[in-house]
Symmetry: C2
Subunit: 91 residues, 2 copies
């Protein structure tokens, strides 16, 4: 899969990312991967649920992975941040 | 599985829930289910990652489910909230 199919959820309103996922799906992608870290994880779950319940009912959750990523602070030290990766696929 | 094995993550610090999960696991539970809704979803992922990386390395993620739940507001109307359910199991 190319990086084109990856939507990174951050601090914008959930609907911005919903539109991005729907656009990817409608332009032919069979799979879209939604990624998020830290506090944005809750929003990523919202995005997936809104896409499935309101926009593209034939998409299903193929895989959900959680992990820990190391992020560098400005002072050079690192901290651990939780991450999620949800793969949506057309049935 | 009985409800005893369910930890509901809400607004307390993540370590409170980590202790609850570790206590369940050490008192003989083969599986512990971590549930959360809305903004607490990110914290639930943190809890699972901290338990696995720092406390009980022989626990693995058996299943992750996301869903939408209807919650009643004080004025009687309902709103949709995303939810997550992560099952940790001993290998």
């Amino acid at each position: 899969m190319t990086e084109d199919n990856v939507i990174r959820v951050a601090n914008k309103p959930a609907m911005n990312y919903v539109v991005a996922v729907v656009t990817q799906a409608n332009s032919g992608a069979r799979e879209v991967v939604i990624k998020a870290r830290g506090n944005a994880i809750s929003r990523a779950v919202d995005v997936v649920e809104i896409v499935r319940n309101r926009f593209i009912k034939e998409m299903e959750i193929k895989d959900i992975k959680i992990s820990t990523e190391q992020v560098q602070r400005e002072n050079g030290t690192t901290m651990n941040v939780s991450a999620i990766e949800i793969t949506l696929a057309k049935k």
